[in-house]
């Protein structure tokens, strides 16, 4: 129903810059997820879109209309808060009807909008209860219902699942996905720090880091072709292994000699001038395989975690700051201190120079 455009948006509290140079276009019908580490400004960005925080610099446009100075209620947005923010003194019905009452909508229309939303969210039998008489999941649904009745152009979700327990979180996540499916034209912006939520819900993910956008893309783009080391390590669990090395062969297939004596082959193309460049290769734990040939990485196992479906091997750190981790399928009996040789298929090996992927030059 609407698109959203951020142009050079920045936010500063006094002299402290929290966000800068945010350029982002969100199209109608998309569910865009903002992820990032704590304090990266993802919630601040959402609150700026909502109008709860002033935009220090840049332009926010909804449907090509500049919204910087438009009061929150007239932006055509609705927000679902982390703590639900239900009005504790009002029944579920009144909570959902509040915005419509304020807008002086005719009583019959309000009634219908509330009943429709309640039916959609299985809240009909709870309409006359107070929020305190509801479970956490039900409260969350009321908060979503309060957004739905307003029929907004854009839905904003601020970590809506973080107050729910693990089982309920999965269930509600699926409900939100279904809700999105039922309202295909609605545009949604969703903030979370949970990458599983991001990967499962998003049509596109915006990774925020270092006061700006680290990468925008579909979940699988971020996973398969991270633009930089930050995104590479942020998406996926355990995080991608980074190993330092030097380019020794360039061309359609690049060969990197790694510290510790390993050799990595990558499908990332390089040019002759890259020869001798110091780079980090990145390889995901799940892409590592045991090999008898030339190893990409070879070290002694420090800890083995057998999870049944996969086995995680943590290698001795040596001079590295972080242990290399391998995620091998099935059960893999390995003794502590045993030396294991690993390699990875060339198409799964990423190359980063100065933190940026060589794929995106």
């Amino acid at each position: 129903m609407a698109n959203l455009k951020l142009t050079n948006v920045a936010k500063a509290y006094g002299d402290v810059t929290v966000l800068k140079d945010i350029n982002l276009e969100i199209n109608e019908g998309e569910l865009v997820v903002f992820v990032g580490p704590s304090g990266c400004g993802k919630s601040t960005l959402l609150r700026m879109i909502a109008g709860l925080e002033r935009i220090t610099d840049g332009t926010l446009a909804i449907d090509d209309v500049k919204m910087n100075d438009v009061p929150p209620a007239q932006r055509g947005i609705a927000m679902v808060f982390q703590s639900y923010a239900l009005y504790p003194h009002m029944t579920v019905r009144d909570n959902m009807a509040f915005a419509l009452n304020i807008a002086k909508m005719p009583k019959a229309e309000i009634e219908k909008a509330v009943n429709d939303a309640a039916a959609k969210l299985q809240l009909t039998e709870y309409l006359d209860r107070l929020p305190k008489a509801l479970s956490g999941g039900q409260r969350q649904r009321v908060a979503i219902g309060r957004a739905i009745v307003r029929d907004p152009k854009i839905y904003l979700f601020d970590e809506p699942l973080s107050n729910l327990d693990a089982a309920l979180r999965v269930a509600t996540r699926i409900e939100i996905a279904q809700l999105k499916e039922a309202m295909p034209e609605s545009t949604m912006v969703y903030v979370t720090h949970d990458q599983v939520e991001a990967m499962t819900l998003a049509s596109r993910i915006v990774v925020l880091a270092n006061k700006g956008i680290a990468q925008v893309g579909t979940p699988l783009e971020l996973y398969e072709k991270p633009e930089n080391e930050f995104v590479a390590q942020f998406i996926g669990s355990p995080a991608m292994n980074l190993i330092a090395g030097e380019v020794i062969e360039t061309g359609a297939e690049t060969v990197v000699a790694l510290e510790g004596g390993g050799v990595a082959r990558s499908k990332v193309p390089t040019v002759a001038s890259d020869l001798g460049t110091h780079v980090n290769i990145g390889v995901r734990p799940e892409d590592l395989v045991v090999t008898d040939g030339t190893p990409l990485y070879q070290a002694k196992v420090e800890i083995t975690e057998a999870l049944g479906e996969v086995t995680l091997l943590y290698f001795e750190k040596g001079t590295r700051s972080e242990a290399v981790i391998a995620k091998l399928p099935g059960i893999h009996a390995t003794a502590k201190g045993e030396t294991v040789s690993l390699t990875a298929p060339a198409e799964k090996v990423h190359i980063f120079a100065d933190g940026q992927s060589l794929l995106y030059r």
Binding site: A50, A73, H89, A99
Partner: protein, 330 residues
């Protein structure tokens, strides 16, 4: 010097008296039920059952002495004549029902009861909401709270100047008359104007109690979740709607406690009336009526009857208030 000595002596006696009481009473208990010998177990149990009462006895004794006994005696006195000796049955109550001053006091007390708690709570709420939003709010708060530190009589003296009246032709020194004459009105002897003078007295108590209401309500307002307010902003509510429809309903419990606390205080209102009008010009209230009959009319029976009426009026509000406060604390 002698007074100082006696004061010190009393303090020492009081403190050591307490220590001695607890020490001796517990020692005697342990003598009677020693925690050894063939019946040690049974003795310990019995001593444990008695011991709490040893500790509670002083408090219970004082409460009985200074609360229960006066109530009982007041009831007894209310059935007796002016010197408290002669039994006159319901005579005092009959007098009460037909007494004009009592009717006036009841009417005025009811007015006080409505106006002062309502006024103090309302202004306190507004002050709390406004001071939370401005930079010098804390300074404003301390100014508004300041009258709480002034005794009722002191406040009355201050307000006597506000309402002061000088005969026509003389320079008016009262603030209110100054304002009235500035706008071309005729100066008035405000506190002698029947009916309205009660309201001028009420203004004093409102002035004092607004600070109390403000402090409590301000704390309650700060306890409201910020997200519900942001949600209301997104829902399109304007500041007035946010205040009256979102904030105030969330602190109803606290408002009720503030309201009833002030109500109880108002029922006992005495000092202001005594200092300002002494109940003349139709401004009498129950507490001052009681005082009048006790120390001026010298009729202990009638004074006790009025006192009982005040107690009857206060009790239900008190019970409700304590219950409510307890619920708020949980």
């Amino acid at each position: 010097m002698e007074q100082l000595f006696w004061a010190l002596f009393t303090v020492v006696i009081g403190v050591f008296g307490c220590v001695l009481y607890f020490f001796l009473s517990n020692m005697i208990l342990d003598r009677i039920y020693p925690a050894k010998g063939p019946n040690a177990g049974r003795n310990i149990n019995r001593a444990a059952r008695i011991r709490p009462w040893l500790f509670m006895f002083p408090a219970l004794f004082l409460l009985t002495m200074y609360l229960l006994y006066p109530v009982v005696i007041s009831v007894w006195l209310s059935f007796h004549g002016s010197d408290g000796d002669e039994f006159i049955g319901g005579g005092n109550y009959a007098w009460l029902l037909s007494d004009e001053k009592f009717a006036e006091s009841m009417k005025n007390n009811m007015l006080w009861l409505i106006v002062v708690p309502a006024g103090s709570t309302f202004f306190g709420l507004i002050a709390a909401a406004l001071t939370d939003r401005i930079k010098w709010g804390n300074f404003a708060k301390s100014l508004i709270f300041m009258p709480m530190a002034i005794s009722f009589v002191g406040a009355s003296v201050i307000w006597k100047f506000v309402y002061d009246y000088r005969a026509e032709g003389e320079a008016q020194i009262g603030l209110l008359n100054a304002i009235v004459t500035y706008f071309g009105g005729a100066p008035q002897a405000w506190i002698t104007v029947p009916f309205w003078n009660s309201f001028f007295l009420m203004a004093i108590l409102i002035w004092i109690q607004t600070g109390f209401a403000m402090v409590i309500l301000s704390a309650a307002l700060r306890g409201i979740s910020e997200e519900t307010i942001e949600a209301a902003i997104l829902d399109g509510a304007n500041p007035f709607q946010i205040f009256w429809k979102i904030k105030v309903p969330q602190i109803w419990g606290t408002i009720a406690v503030v309201w009833t606390t002030i109500t109880i205080l108002v029922l006992k209102v005495f000092d202001i009336v005594l200092a300002m009008t002494n109940g003349q010009w139709g401004s009498q209230v129950l507490a001052n009526l009681m005082f009048d009959w006790m120390f001026r009319g010298l009729d202990i029976g009638r004074a006790s009857t009025v006192a009982l009426v005040i107690m009857l009026l206060v009790t239900p509000i008190m019970v409700w208030n304590i219950r409510n406060a307890r619920r708020e604390m949980v």
